[in-house]
């Protein structure tokens, strides 16, 4: 084994996503063959004490409390942005201008125009970039991608996806501040459209190509909540639920839905694709399976196959355990980072790039616009 090249990482944010990314940095080189050895060089957060504690736990070698300082450190190769949505653009642009590679949590910006400026920054500065739409790297979802690319579905008729949660039903839940910034429109940009539906759309565009047009509705069920930062009851300005109909460029039909008001569902991201010859379904609550129906099977023995995606010939799985033994949520980040390192070695882009994520933002923008106009809205295409 030749020595690996060090890759120094500076992380911004120490929340849920900071943990998931840090774990990926540590695990990827142990389970995948990589030319690079990620070094946890620095973590940055305004709260110095918490940042130190996080650094100690994960093995970060230093701590910053100002992201500008981090971005300008000469020893950093990669800036990884895991802080709230309203910080993405500023940090990413500064990092790109400083010549750093940039990894960014999704959604890229709070709107397509914000995202466009980020795309411009990374492309004009020619820095490697990637957005953490991690669900592409679920082995079962990647298997669906392979099957589509092999032409097994024939003409596609339908694509449907939904992302259902139930954690904001209580009227007593406040908005804003740590852990609850996703309910604060200024910080998050939008509600479930950018948080949940964006995942559905990223996967859809990747699997089934661009969307041409959408019509949509959104709803805010609880109209006012106490705001944690002001202490006052304030109007809720995010969307609690969002649903859209659409048409893909390949003429197939789309139905999308996301909500935080579906009692009984914690993180039920489901997708289904129906083609001329075959169909497939996937569900985040049983993420290691796909349901697959092949019409070319013998007539009386046709059925939905429950494929336990844990065999050595399934995507990513030969790097893990033995057939039948499953992996979990965090592995999607490990896979994505391992793919990033491979792309780096090969001088290629690692998808989804900022540009790919911009295409998703144009869809969510069109959905939010349609929800206001009540009309079909064209989706701006990304070359």
């Amino acid at each position: 084994m030749p020595a690996k090249k060090p890759l120094n990482i500076g992380l911004v944010g120490y929340g849920f996503m900071g943990r998931a990314h840090s774990n990926a940095f540590l695990q990827a080189p142990r389970f995948f063959e990589t030319d690079y050895q990620p070094i946890l060089e620095a973590v940055c957060a305004r709260n110095a004490e918490r940042a130190k504690s996080f650094a100690q736990n994960w093995g970060y070698e230093s701590v910053e409390t100002d992201w500008r300082a981090l971005v300008n450190r000469a020893d950093i190769d990669v800036i990884d942005i895991a802080s709230p949505n309203d910080t993405h653009a500023e940090i990413a642009i500064a990092a790109a201008q400083a010549g750093k590679m940039v990894l960014c949590e999704k959604p890229l910006g709070r709107s397509a125009s914000e995202s466009a400026s980020m795309v411009s920054a990374v492309e004009s500065n020619r820095v490697a970039n990637m957005v953490w739409y991690n669900y592409r790297r679920v082995p079962a979802v990647m298997l669906v991608k392979h099957l589509i690319d092999e032409g097994r579905f024939g003409r596609i008729f339908h694509y449907r996806a939904k992302f259902l949660q139930d954690w904001t039903i209580s009227q007593d839940l406040p908005q804003g501040g740590e852990g609850l910034w996703r309910l604060d429109a200024d910080v998050a940009g939008s509600g479930v459209t950018g948080d949940l539906l964006a995942h559905c759309i990223d996967t859809a565009l990747w699997l089934n190509g661009p969307l041409r047009e959408v019509t949509a509705m959104t709803e805010t069920f609880v109209k006012e909540r106490k705001h944690n930062l002001t202490g006052r009851v304030e109007p809720v300005r995010i969307d609690d639920a969002s649903a859209a109909l659409g048409r893909f460029q390949n003429s197939s039909l789309a139905t999308f839905e996301a909500t935080r008001y579906a009692r009984g569902h914690k993180a039920l991201y489901t997708l289904e694709i129906n083609g001329e010859h075959a169909s497939a379904m996937w569900d985040l609550h049983d993420l290691h399976r796909i349901q697959f129906f092949d019409h070319r099977d013998e007539g009386r023995l046709r059925g939905w196959r429950s494929i336990h995606v844990t065999d050595g010939d399934h995507p990513y799985m030969k790097r893990w355990w033995v057939p039948g033994l499953q992996i979990g949520y965090e592995h999607t980040f490990i896979h994505q980072f391992a793919d990033f390192l491979t792309a780096l070695s090969e001088g290629k882009e690692a998808a989804p790039t900022f540009r790919d994520a911009l295409a998703t933002d144009h869809v969510t923008d069109a959905i939010l616009k349609s929800a206001k106009t009540g009309r079909w809205e064209q989706v701006v295409s990304v070359p």
Copy 2:
């Protein structure tokens, strides 16, 4: 057991639905306590030979080849319409005018205006009437209705339903004529919107109240098919797929979808309702179960309960076998007809009446209109 009162039935149509209804007439009084004894008095169809064969098999005592003759027979109490959609209005109106009770297959008419004339006829002639939206009488679906009526869901946030089939994907399938009139727009009125989505909407209105407005899309994937009656390749004018977003009067959100192009699904009617306190799901492919989630269960033991609706305290089930032993599709018609007989004894209406079915037609009309205008359309309300 006192002698039962005879109830003479005249059936129009000997197809799939003619069989399902005839079976219901015979089975209902054996498994349910009824004051009436249905008599299979006559079956009517243009093809005399087939009508005779059908009569012999099911025990109909006579045969007619002209529905006008049937409608005017003095010995007939009930006209049951199981012929294609384009015959419903004319027969139903004539039957009502002749003072007969009228049972009609769904959808009621080919449009709300056609249905409105039928409602007018049965109401002005004060005859008992019912539409065979049979899925209300699945024990599992009826159980959901009971739970809603008991207030167990609290405020409703979401209602979603779909009806997926795959039987018209082949381009070689012709349109029109026996067995295929559902693809002929003149006969059927519409495609999946009236055939499949109408079931979803009937159940939705019954469970969750009136819809206020909808936006929708429809699609015809295969544009031309040979027409069995003309022998020529002709444009297909029905909708192969239909999807809608909507808002109920109770402010909950609706998503509906129906298609005959979902490979792998034969008759996958699914519905889900998400409320403040509870959620429920049902699926026609496993029609004897509901999935029920109750948020008031102890936290760490919350889960979706798979309730096998076969116990004696479940709707209709004490009349059948023992717990654990399931019933099937045809039983929904038996239940509906048993309920009709009970209502007759009690001098009440049996739901869904023609008026109830008209409400569904106003929704499907609004969906078809929106699919053309690209706008949200208000649903005409039925008092």
Copy 3:
């Protein structure tokens, strides 16, 4: 359609099974092509009033209160025995001697020796005979049989079946008398071994051939119950639970289990067969499906197929509705009786014959014996 030949049926018993059989007599000729028209000629039960009520409901033309009178009526072609187990042998033997065809509920006798005398009677009098092991006629189970007969499984390694119920857990449940004779050892012969495990074994012998030897355990969890006939608390002498290991003649391994103490299961009859090339599973709670795994499928797309056995090319199903619409428990009796009528037309035996059922009784006898001796017991083979 030529006129059908009448077949006059005399039924003994009006309980659960009397209803299931009567329904089969009425429905079989409506849904299947048969040369015979079953006539519900007479029903026999000691309680004249109940018998009359039953006759009126189902259309039996006469009533008897002494089965000997029924057996000797010249107008009866078929005696159908649906009364408790302790009456089977005497009635069946008398019926055979009177030259009647004999249908008998399972288990055939209370022991193999009782059953052997019944086999002898029907065979020496050369009368058609059949035992109502109805689960063979579930379409999904019949499909498994076809797949085995086609050699799709290759060498069989494992066969496992269980039948789990929970209806006798309460200590307050009495034993004996109407509805509870299955807890009375004198009437029932044994407990779950003859009642539930016998179903598992009948199917197993049919699908996988004879069993060579077994070792077993039984248990009576509740040792004493009030006896409904004596009014006294008496020892319970039936087995509440029964489990066995065994070896088939084809060298595959068997595991069997039945109980009435499995909380949460109402009638969970499950079977699974594992072969060199394929495996299949079935479950009475979702009786219209099989799970099928074929190792010859492409490696990374292997999975258990959930086959919804409702298509026209599935056993029995083209006689019912359309693909995707399921049937239920009672249809197994309809299918079995339709097969009986077909066999009668063709001059063949309808399985399972009394002789087939005797083979099952030899297995259950060996299981009950092993539970006492603690040793492996050889299964007496039936030529």
Copy 4:
């Protein structure tokens, strides 16, 4: 955060289990609060080159090729045995005598007598010890344990478990040598009884208490295989399949089965427990769920709850992600090692100890003995 105490680990073996354990050493202190910081001090394997490569990948600071050298190193606190079964006893005894804590893969020894000598060594030398029966630490399984301990099941009637695989069906698979020592009786001790059934039994004893007696059968389907070490076709002396009936000391009934010949199952470890008031089921292929039935639920709403064991109030889960996001197989080792560290801090034993594992070995010994004698065998009890 106070500095953690270092805990120097010496690992023997670099195979599948070596990876799983190493991952646990690294991950446990990141996700759980521990007083100790495991140090990967040395890995030992005969093949120096592979050992070095393994050390480099996982961060072991040194390499040994003789386990005796490792055991005698003063800088080692814990010896972790992840080498084939025939090495367990010798290494564990030497390690205990050298005063090291000992962690050992399961099964403990190749027989109860071998295991007894290991128990004696760790207990007489008073060293901390634990066996890697990792499935106890699946959150869903731990939840079942908690429910049992709370008395929610009432009297237990049934416990059934099976472990089904299909990887040795091909006759062309050789036996012996790297990756295939589990088929070599001298190395493995037994076949599926020690490899798979032992897992079932460890969990069963833990959840439901000691077994009193068993009767069993084993089978070797493929009688001869090429031996990788000798190059010759040799008799296969392990058991390919194993099944047992048993009685627990609490009078409940046991059924156990394990096989490597169940086509379609990769690692299907399932368990079910039926009690007076409640039942639970679990399945390794969907390890993040339990199915739970509570008879005290309202009658018509009773059903098996599918509990997605991913909430913060579920065992171990608050240390991971957010509700709905699942973990996988490897986490069971992380949990077990975290529990070991906690026990160490608290001066307690971490279950299962060597003594606990000896109890399992007495059951597997009784099963293997019964398979030979054809009789019920008493299980030697472990005080």
